[in-house]
Amino acid sequence: MVLRRCRQLLRDEDAALDVLHDVFSRWLELAREAPEYPSSFFYTMATRICIDRIRSADFRSRSDDSRLVEIASAEDIEGESRARRLLDRIFGHQQASTRVMAVLHYIDGLSYEEVAAEVNLTAAGVRRRLQRLREHAAKWNGEDKS
């Protein structure tokens, strides 16, 4: 399941395996108690690490298949540094889980309620976070255009 998730987001077998190792390695480093729903925990952790990987310019330059990478590539048309800055500004100013929420909602098609169940928030909380993310994106888009 975790490898499938990594493949889905990264579209690169080597990178997917690498992230797969990262996921379990990080879990081991945390030495934390097992979560109530292990699949959910590992799925969202894999999503987060994949997003980090996708954010790297190197990865975006090599891949063009996932919707996440398509978004990054669309910005790249206007200039990679600007696109990267935009993504960094959108994602970098948000709590990490917001990026995961965004992927779960916009890419995977989960409802607010379903996302909320995955990230242990209320549906209203998820809606607010994603709304803030959209506002930031709109604001920075506007700044970049100015």
């Binding site: 990262d22 879990w27 081991l28 480093e29 108690e33 097992a34 699949s39 959910s40 098609g109």
Partner: protein, 287 residues
Amino acid sequence: MSPKPMAELLLERYRLGELPAAAMAGLRARCEADPDLRARLEALDHSDAAILAAHPPASMVRDLLAKRETGAGMRPSRQTGLPGGLPGRPGKPRRDRKAFWAAPAGLAFACAILLAVRHLPDPGNTQVTESPEAYAIRLKGAEAGLAIFRKANGGAELLPPHALAKTGDTLQVFYHSRGPAFGVIFSVDGAGSVTLHLPEEGGSATALQTGDLLPLPHAYRLDRAPRLERFFLITAPRPFPLDGLLERARAAFAVRREVPDSLPGLEEGFRQYPYTLRKPGKGGGTK
């Protein structure tokens, strides 16, 4: 209006039985009525099989261990194999203690999540069998223990204690030990036969390697003996002869013509870790 497409994550959680009961029931009904959903579930089954074939648990664990040895972001070369050797062997760098001890269960847990060939829970199934994940969690806290994998679909699946295994299954036994100890691993089957697994020949108990789950040198094929096969890991802080111990296991079986739950009369300092696999058919349950 047709319902919105089912998110992949929810299907994955459904397959693993990790949705709340109401959601499980709802999704089960939806799957029964929707051939597309059933096809997606089948595709996930095929994907599992392909992943198991391409990435057997043993190699996956080796890669993960190697990565942890070499540092984040460095996946070991498939050609060169392990750069750091297995835990507990001389010359390897010491790892963070917390992470070190977290590894055995983590690896089993990882295998369980990564590679589990787990079927949907059957509401009518009342057998008491731990899930691979639950067992891995329990193993994490144990001083020592066993984990048994079964060769399946070109890969392997973790058989938690009390899981069903059948004649002809090829089993790979792993052990872990937190601290230095001497040990023996043997099994008693439903016919009373005692098989020594570690060491493979009699004599004295083996000095166990500490740390992560370690496979025994050879896999084991389950024979026709009825009811169950119970594996025992017996540890002690000092070397001990095996003959008396194995004879005690045979005698314990002879008393009641049943595989003993535990080995009686162990001396102080000895510990035992039984691990039972049930076999199909009458009497295949566990006590």
